[in-house]
Amino acid sequence: MVQPAAAAADMQAVLDAHKALGAKPIETLTPAKARLEPSAADAAKMVMRQRGMSIAPDPAVTTKDVPYGADPMQFARIYTPAATMGAGTRMPVVVYYHGGGWVIADVNTYDATPRLLAKQLNAIVVSVEYRHGPEAKFPAQHEDAAAAYRWVLANAASWGGNPAKIALAGESAGGNLAVATAIYARDNRLTAPVHVLSVYPIANSSMQLPSRTDSGNAKPLNTPMLNWFGYYYSRSESDKMDPRINLVGADLRNLPPTTIVNAQIDPLRSDGETLAVAMKKAGDSVDQKTFPGVTHEFFGMGKVVRGAYDAELYAIAKLKKALLN
């Protein structure tokens, strides 16, 4: 079996903490048991505590949970920067989709990135929960992502947000949803997002991608996990070639300026890299960067992983430019 590239020491510390928390191989578990496993975010918090840092949520940002649909999973956690409350000016809005292969994890697992974006951009960040597989299979997640985007367009003003300054963002399966929702907005003539931030998206269903092999045995995401997720979120073989999952096969013309962030040691690295090529070919403005020495889930770990700090600065600069001009 191909051994993945070595992680930087600070990234390795998080992987070691994940192991110390008892993380088992997800691909050997049932979805119920997989949802009980410690996450990479839990591991990053363990490293923070070991280094004497606070793991308490940053009080500069407040949150509230609001439903956007009838299903208990159809709600969003709205992050609001405390400092600007009552300032009178309308804040930009970021609609954020969490990762977890559409099967595991939730808005609680992915708290770091939306909280960071709300603080750094002085923006309202709407972190969308959505139905998961196998209870609700594809395209339930894409339908929920689109419904939540429509809901934000209609309601952002009532939260103090500016509906003309909306960006889409997401990580992993949520990185896919960010791009897929931009496509949905174009096709349905909705207000277009001003920018899309897609962090290591699921974007290419080819089995031949280099990263599927060179990082096939990486942690915390490996290629067998990708197949395990696919097994539980899709209805049939043909779903994986649906352009909403296989984004490289979608009509990518006339999409908003997009930033794609990838990790070197990640079986999804080639997805982001090939998506950037396909979007450029379609005439879109795309910036893509692959950060060395880091793995899947590194984004949001900027307090303890240097590569994550760099990636966050890069992504925040792109969003700032789009949202604050």
């Binding site: 119920a32 410690p38 363990m46 308490a56 197949n227």
Partner: protein, 159 residues
């Protein structure tokens, strides 16, 4: 099975867990018992420092409700001949350590964040055993605990 054919290259890896029972009775008793232990201990930890009346009453309610569910679980486990040996998981032990490392309002905020995560996990545990469990007395406990956990989740949405 059409869906199995789809995963053919990896059928060996994936088919077994896909059709396995979501959780055995012993696994359920261990996970539910550990969840209760974590709930009680974390709530005790926040009660030592919090000045927030809303958090105080929520934490007291958690101790009360999770003490009750532990008693029901123990009784049903005895009838079902499952030996309860509740032990915190390494992740729960770490969460308690994190909570105790925080002070003042930071501990309050960390507590609420942990409660949201822990209750989603508790819902997963009780829901999956309520649906797929084998021992009837334990299944009844799981079924009865689900709405309690859901109520806690609804309360947490306002915190």
């Amino acid at each position: 099975m059409k869906i199995l054919a789809y995963a053919l290259p990896l059928a060996v890896v994936i088919s077994a867990p896909a059709f396995a029972q979501a959780m055995t009775s012993a696994e359920y008793v261990a996970a539910a018992g550990a969840g209760d232990m974590y709930e009680i201990q974390s709530s005790q930890a926040v009660l030592q420092t919090t000045q927030d009346p809303k958090i105080k009453s929520f934490a007291q309610m958690m101790i009360q409700d999770h003490t009750k569910s532990t008693a029901k679980l123990k009784a049903a486990a005895a009838v079902s001949k499952v030996k309860p040996s509740p032990m915190l998981t390494p992740a729960q032990t770490e969460m308690l350590a994190q909570l105790k490392a925080e002070n003042g309002p930071a501990r309050d905020q960390a507590y609420i964040a942990q409660q949201k995560q822990a209750h989603q996990q508790a819902l997963t545990i009780h829901q999956s055993y309520a649906e797929g469990g084998k021992a009837v007395p334990l299944k009844m406990v799981a079924t009865n605990v689900v709405p309690v956990v859901k109520h806690h989740i609804e309360m947490l949405k306002t915190m």
